[in-house]
């Protein structure tokens, strides 16, 4: 009960201030010839290019920790595995959409956010509950939450020429560069970009070992990658068409966990990905449609040159192919609208290890929904259906899945100084991944999908004053996850397997607060804060020692507080991040505890105007300025204080 008092404290102290949001001034519906976006302010977080430049995140994962309700799990290092779970649902309940196309990986579930580049991101939107954009792919609209990314290279612009370039370097031998050019005369665009980065990754760390403090340097942690892509698009009277290709190659060493007294590590991971995609927007009177087609091949090679098996090594190579396509529509009337769509994904996995399965998955999605705008409330409802079956050229297959899932939202009209209430319920599930079903001893083809129920009540308040904008968003939520897919040791300590064993309840609250204060033309002040409380408890078995205990790796408290001061062209951004203590296993005992941490990053930036529509931004960044020793995952230590400097050029 004491914890709830703190939430109350937050609510009180922030109510006295006032505030506003980035999308604040846009009306309820944003309509252009082709785009129709129903602005849902209640639970979206939007980060734009300026935020990204100022924050200097290494990748998308680094950026998503800013999102309220997000729980980042990072295994450290550049390119290291990073996943984000929203509101304790688990990472695989979130979908990621880049330029209108969902990114899938049927082998691992959520794509590794540590390997998604941020340099070309113009805008990132995170949402749970009702989507703003009913033309998003169906799979993203019906998942537990989604992250929508828009890049510079794949969007139409007002200007004929757009150029972006970044160049930077920093501690542990980090170097990165990116350049993107888009030529966009009246009706079409073509763009091209390339990026590369590398790092030695040999950061120093310090971990407590009993009464001693171990100081070490991370070994076997080199990283390098490159990305490139081309895009083109054509606009015509009632529609637009885009087409693009993306390539990514990553070579990285895997440092593994810090094992006391044993610093040996020599594993390698090579990743490459090629993706062709196209999408098409078309409007017939009040009917807006968006269709897409995407074909991707992800190749991964895991190499352990000193594994103690008969061969003396492990050399596993995986090819995961995904082809997906779909169409979404919305029929828009002022008083009501109808929306829906279909999507199909076909994916397979090939492994050089012949004992591994060779599965092919067919996953179909369908959704229909409607919305009624009444004077007092807006009611939205959605029903989705999914059908999934699998073939396996090399063994048994899991059972076929067919499900129907509802979503319902009731939202009040705005009143007073733009206050609004919303109540929503979503039922969704995520399917087991190929790794969870088939991976050697670990996989279990009897796995059921993991079910999630989310109930949310939100209140927002977005008043606007002359020099002062405020944005207050608060939600309380209750989630239940059933048939949680978890890896547990089964046969003995070393032989783990995937099981549907968990059932968890989450009682949570989120508060997001943003204030913008423009004193005059010269002085600006922006405050972005959010706080999330999550009590996620194990309710699987009343006889278990972990019954009602906080689930492993879910912090009760997470908070972000970013403060930006800007004077003329110079600014400073202080970014604070707090995660409370967690448990490495479900049993909430002291020996399972991993300490909470508080991180402060500092950015100083100056913009040089190089003439009309052209500027150069110089950013100096210090991460973890208090040099705190911390870890998201036990034994995966993170770097102490580190520095970077970068230049960011923009033309239009």
């Amino acid at each position: 009960m004491i914890k709830f008092a703190y939430i109350a404290f937050f609510l009180c102290c922030f109510n006295v201030s006032g505030q506003i949001d980035t999308v604040q001034n846009i009306s309820e519906v944003y309509v252009s010839t082709l785009e129709l976006i129903l602005i849902e302010k209640t639970h979206n977080l939007i980060l734009e290019r300026d935020d990204i430049i100022e924050l200097q995140p290494t990748d998308i994962g680094d950026l998503l920790r800013k999102v309220p309700g997000a729980n980042l799990r990072s295994y450290g290092g550049l390119g290291g595995l990073k996943t984000v779970s929203m509101r304790s649902l688990g990472a695989n309940h979130s979908s990621i959409v880049v330029d209108g196309v969902p990114l899938n990986n049927s082998q691992t579930g959520q794509v590794n956010l540590g390997q998604l580049m941020v340099d070309n991101v113009e805008k990132l939107t995170s949402s749970v509950g009702l989507n703003s954009n009913m033309l998003l792919p169906v799979s993203a609209q019906i998942s537990g939450s989604n992250f929508v990314i828009q890049t510079m290279e794949n969007s139409f612009a007002r200007d004929t020429l757009t150029i972006r370039a970044n160049l930077g370097g920093g501690s542990f031998g980090q170097m990165r560069g990116y350049a993107g050019v888009k030529y966009n005369p009246n009706k079409y665009f073509v763009s091209v970009f390339g990026s590369a980065q590398k790092a030695q990754g040999n950061y120093k760390y310090s971990v407590a070992n009993g009464l001693e403090q171990i100081n070490g340097t991370r070994r076997n942690n080199k990283y390098q990658d490159y990305n490139f892509g081309i895009s083109t698009g054509v606009k015509f009277k009632k529609g637009q068409w885009r087409f693009g290709y993306r390539h990514k190659t990553i070579e990285q060493e895997l440092p593994g966990s810090v094992i006391f007294y044993n610093e040996t590590a020599d594993e390698l991971l090579e990743t490459s990905s090629d993706r062709l995609f196209t999408d098409f927007k078309f409007r017939i009177k009040k009917l807006y449609t968006h269709s897409f087609l995407n074909a991707a091949i992800d190749h991964q090679r895991y190499f352990d040159p000193t594994y103690l098996n008969a061969a003396g090594e492990i050399d596993n190579q995986f090819n995961n192919r995904n082809v997906n396509g779909g169409i979404s529509f919305i029929y828009y009337r002022d008083k009501w609208n109808l929306f829906g769509g279909i999507e199909e994904t076909v994916s397979n996995l090939e492994v050089n290890d012949l004992s591994f399965a060779e599965p092919t998955r067919f996953h179909s999605f369908g959704m229909i929904g409607g919305r009624l705008n009444h004077d007092l409330v807006t009611i939205s409802a959605q029903l989705s259906g999914q059908y999934l079956f699998e073939e396996n050229n090399n063994g048994n297959v899991p059972r076929t899945i067919s499900r129907l899932n509802p979503f319902l939202s009731i939202k009040s009209r705005e009143w007073g100084q733009r206050s609004q209430l919303e109540l929503w319920y979503r039922n969704s599930f995520r399917v087991p991944t190929f790794n969870e079903l088939y991976y050697n001893n670990i996989g279990n083809i009897n796995l059921l999908p993991e079910d999630a129920h989310q109930l949310n009540a939100g209140f927002l308040w977005t008043p606007s004053f002359r020099k002062f904008k405020l944005d207050w968003k608060s939600n309380i939520f209750f989630n239940q996850v059933k048939n949680k897919i978890v890896a547990v040791p089964t046969k003995n300590l070393f032989i783990w397997s995937m099981q549907n064993i968990g059932k968890t309840n989450t009682f949570g609250a989120e508060i997001q607060f943003e204030a913008k204060f423009e004193v005059n033309e010269i002085w600006k002040f922006v405050l972005n804060t959010n706080y999330t409380y999550q009590k996620t408890i194990d309710i699987t078995d009343p006889d278990s020692p972990t019954y009602l205990h906080q689930v492993a790796y879910i912090p009760e408290h997470t908070a972000n507080a970013d403060i930006t001061f800007q004077y003329h062209q110079t600014g400073i951004r202080i970014s604070n991040y707090f995660v409370s203590h967690r448990y490495v296993l479900n049993e909430n005992i002291e020996s399972n505890e991993i300490a909470g941490f508080f991180l402060t990053d500092l950015s100083v930036f100056h913009t040089f105007n190089l003439g009309t529509n052209q500027n150069l931004k110089l950013i100096g960044n210090i991460k973890n300025i208090f040099n705190s020793s911390y870890a998201y995952i036990r034994s995966y230590v993170m770097p102490g204080v580190n520095y970077s400097i970068s230049l960011s050029y923009a033309f239009n």
Binding site: F9, A310, V488, N492
Partner: protein, 350 residues
């Protein structure tokens, strides 16, 4: 700003946990039991618990308290030889050598070879030498006086357990890291020359090895955790031939005076049993000698000759802190102790 700082501060304060009171362990260990708790892979959380017989108190930080640092990752074996205690730590790839009475560290032997962790598993002693199975395919010989490695004897794939009989060392080659094509052999090493003289095929995935009062060696062949069940064989150490295959379920063997305790944990049904076996007549005298039906995960079994009692551990599905139960030889449970994660081996003090 101030409000935010205060809020953050409050969060910090609210997250502090009360530290439980630590049970004091006397300067010189006596009249109690050391329990090796393996912990879990990659968590650096292997611990030693101390059960004080006098007041039944338990300290779960024995190693850390006495040595000042942690044991490391996945302790796998603990044995005493002379005045020294040896703890074999598998993933940290070390052998911690401690003074048997004060429990102060004498030496930490790093078990690495050419930058690769040898992953030591189990230890046995003979004529002033310690023999350690290493997952990289060797048995290391350590001189217990100088505490240095004097030889590496190549054996089969991923050697697991070892036992001495008739001046020979029997080593079970599990091949556990080569799943599904595991090993099925026992290496026989002549302890005069420290070389392998024979490799006996015993059955898939050999594990626990033990020598009876007549010098016969019994080996558990753990099978493939599927169609091939976990069984026990007997090797005649004069002829080095497998002379008996026993048909009962078994995953562990523990010596109790001249008898064996036969433990079995069935991971698919989570049922456990402990039977009594006579290695002289080679008969399973009682298939449910101790009542362990309520166990979640039967793990370690040991007989305490000083108190004539049996210690059995429950690993609680491998992810929760474990329990140790103490029984009389007539099967009555007389005590239980809450210990660390995955308690597996015991070391008894008078």
């Amino acid at each position: 700003m101030r409000l935010i700082s205060v809020a953050f501060l409050l969060l910090f304060v609210s997250c502090k946990k009360d530290v439980p009171e630590e049970v004091l362990v006397s300067e010189v260990l006596s009249n109690g039991t050391v329990v090796l708790c393996e912990g879990l892979f990659q968590q650096n959380n292997s611990t030693l618990s101390w059960i004080n017989k006098e007041d039944a108190s338990v300290s779960n930080t024995l190693f850390e308290t006495k040595v000042g640092r942690q044991l490391g990752d996945t302790g796998n074996d603990i044995k005493r030889y002379g005045n020294k205690v040896y703890v074999v730590v598998n993933i940290s790839s070390t052998i911690e050598v401690l003074d048997a009475s004060s429990f102060q560290s004498i030496k930490q032997i790093s078990m690495q070879s050419g930058g690769v962790a040898k992953q030591p598993r189990n230890i046995e002693f003979y004529n002033g030498n310690a023999y350690v199975t290493c997952y990289d395919g060797y048995v290391d010989v350590i001189d217990t006086a100088s505490l240095t490695i004097t030889a590496r004897i190549p054996v089969g794939l991923n050697p697991e357990d070892l036992t001495v009989s008739l001046n020979k060392l029997y080593v079970s080659n599990s091949g556990g890291l080569n799943t599904p094509s595991m090993d099925s052999t026992v290496s026989v090493i002549d302890l005069t020359t420290n070389t392998e003289i024979e490799r006996i095929t015993v059955g898939l995935n050999p594990g626990r090895c033990i020598t009876d009062s007549e010098g016969d060696v019994y080996v558990v062949t753990r099978g493939d955790y599927g169609a091939i069940p976990s069984r026990m064989v007997r090797i005649n150490t004069i002829t080095d031939v497998v002379v008996d295959h026993f048909g009962f379920d078994v995953t562990g063997i523990t010596k109790m005076n001249n008898k064996f305790l036969i433990s079995y944990y069935d991971f698919s049904t989570t049922q456990s049993s402990i039977g009594l076996f006579d290695p002289v007549s080679d008969v399973l005298e009682n298939s449910s000698y101790l009542d362990v039906t309520g166990y979640t995960t039967l793990y370690g079994v040991a007989f305490n000759p000083h108190t004539n009692t049996i210690f059995v551990s429950d690993a609680m599905a491998f992810t929760n802190s474990g329990y140790v139960y103490e029984y009389t030889t007539s099967g009555a449970q007389i005590a239980n102790y809450h210990v660390g994660l995955n308690p597996s081996k015991f070391l008894f003090y008078e």
